[in-house]
């Protein structure tokens, strides 16, 4: 895997780049749609291509439970199983174990948990996470880390930082001893933890940098902390993380979060906001959010956003979309998902082109002024 920075903004840390993987190139900054269970909900791989997706994310925790690692291995890996031939990133499973499952015990050895589906008992360790991710066969795999909740005290965050350091060494060992089962380069991103403590973030960054070959992740943010604290941590990461490697900010965020994080040197993002909000009828547009269930769209025969070139806006009206949500027709979920993903991926393309052109600051100020987050 190789990352080349193409251009860095004069007035900020925003930059464009190309990340090369065995499944093709990714132009950064990029947003990765979340394909929880081996499917980005409601849409096909060819639709993902049509909304300009270049890389998608798979959830190790969900795929491990259903359909199971063995089946995906028999299918030839996650790419073949789901019919997606471009790059994939898988997370470590840790975040879902900490946030979704019933935790039984966390020790330095690993995490014992019960499935949120049927209560069955499982044990996740750095080695197990790597083994699963080897079988899933993603191009980018994530280190197994401990992500403490937003209300964790300094002591807990310090413990998580320490444990994350112990665990990444075991991840590396496992990967060294167990090569890819698909003859594929799988590059592991270490994850910096440390909550909103500058001291712990700094220490964690120092812990992780030696393990980073081509890419690092900023974890443990967007978990409930205040936005200014989040951006302060991102700025700190921008200073500390190697400039020649891509930076992935995990689980972020709203359109304005993405712009502000790109401004602070972030290259990669994933988030369920565009897909989940779409299924709730919340659509992103160049002028702010549209709740398509609203009565006021009943006889509105305009597209969701007249400036949008997505398949939904090119073919369907707000009135029709509202009707589909009203009758609970799944076609509505899908048309909304296509629109929101297109919005996010088009926003990334806009950022890349404005960084390239050299007017990213002007453009982003204008965007942030026009876009109403509420």
């Amino acid at each position: 895997m190789k990352f080349n920075v193409l251009k860095t903004d004069v007035d900020s840390s925003a930059r464009t780049g190309i990340l090369k993987t065995d499944h093709g190139e990714i132009q950064t900054p990029i947003f990765m749609p979340v394909g929880t269970h081996g499917a980005v909900k409601t849409v096909t791989p060819s639709e993902l291509k049509s909304v300009k997706a270049q890389i998608i994310l798979g959830n190790t925790y969900h795929l491990y439970l259903r359909p199971g690692t063995e089946l995906i291995n028999t299918a030839g890996g996650l790419h073949d199983f789901m019919g997606w031939d471009s790059p994939i990133l898988t997370d470590s499973g840790g975040f879902q174990v900490f946030s979704l499952a019933r935790l039984n015990k966390i020790t330095d050895e690993g995490v014992e948990f019960q499935s949120h589906l049927d209560g069955s008992r499982h044990y996740l360790t750095p080695e197990k996470s790597m083994e699963i991710q080897r079988n899933l066969g993603a191009d980018i795999i994530m280190a197994f880390d401990e992500c403490p909740p937003s209300d964790a005290d300094t002591n807990n965050i310090r413990n998580a930082v320490n444990r994350t350091k112990i665990w990444i060494e075991r991840c590396k060992q496992y990967l060294n001893e167990n090569p890819s089962v698909y003859n594929l380069e799988q590059n592991m991103f270490p994850i910096v933890q440390g909550g909103v403590s500058s001291e712990l973030r700094k220490r964690s960054a120092e812990d992780m940098i030696p393990y980073a070959k081509c890419g690092m992740a900023i974890g443990g943010l967007a978990v409930g902390e205040e936005k200014p604290a989040m951006f302060e941590m991102i700025e700190l990461m921008d200073e500390l993380l190697p400039k020649e490697q891509p930076r992935y900010l995990m689980g972020v965020g709203t359109p304005s979060d993405l712009i502000q994080a790109v401004n602070r040197g972030v290259d990669m993002f994933d988030c369920v906001i565009p897909t989940r909000n779409a299924r709730n009828g919340q659509l992103f547009t160049s002028f702010g959010k549209v709740n398509i269930r609203n009565e006021k769209y009943k006889s509105d025969f305009n597209p969701i956003d007249k400036n949008c070139m997505c398949e939904t806006c090119q073919n369907f009206t707000r009135s029709y979309l509202r009707h589909l949500f009203n009758i609970k027709e799944v076609l509505g979920l899908r048309l909304a998902t296509i629109h929101n993903l297109y919005y996010y991926l088009n926003l990334m393309e806009l950022m890349r082109s404005h960084i390239q052109k050299g007017d990213f600051q002007k453009w982003s100020h204008q965007y942030l002024n026009n876009f109403n987050e509420e």
Copy 2:
């Protein structure tokens, strides 16, 4: 509207034809996917085109309740509202009123019913059905008839035949006095009733023929009667209905029903089987039915049907589809719907080509022998 028979089979009543409408030509025999509420569930108009759909059906009862006739009229008609530019047929609303709604009173004047959604009271008459269908703007509209249940006694069926005769005259009057609101030819198909009584069917056919300009429908079948009785009635209709007009067999049926009805001179069909069964995981193939939820498909990496050229079979495996049903992912409903609709519409295309080639009998016997309905 104009119908031309292109070729009639030497050994049966099967024929190919072209039905010309203001929204384009329909090659017959044809199957019409059911677009209940202004959407064929889970799929887009462009996907309908890709599975070779030429005409779709809209349900007057459902559209009248949601989103309402006035809104569709404001949108410029059902074609514009849903983004489908090819022919549409709407039913009269009668069948759903009789089968879904809570019926309060049927008189010669009309039907008083309560919505299955909220219990609200409505009154449907021949005039009201025509008014709604004028506003929906379908190319083919259906006469308002009384469709008795399969367990109705001869007296009830006779009453329905009589009422259907009275009502069609009122439909005709209304249409004559109230032209299309979209400057569009809307051709009304009369509906022959009469249950499985040859005498009543004959009488109803005689009643309806004078009202048929270009097309007649056979109603009141596939409502619970035995299959031999159904085919006997279709044969009788084949004798009695004008050969130069298309015949539409309402609500039928399975793939073998379609072949056997085409053999008896039927040109048009609609049925929820391909779409509804798809959403239950039941898929049609050249060798019979596949229940994709079955455990035996867990590690089956073949397409649903290796002979099928649909988007689903070209891109996804049984194993993946089973997984999507297992996790209740709506993408699965959609991929299954695409497959089943393609199967049905491809079957119609096969029938047309074999009638044209002159080997329809040989082909259909072979098909019926290979296809396992169970």
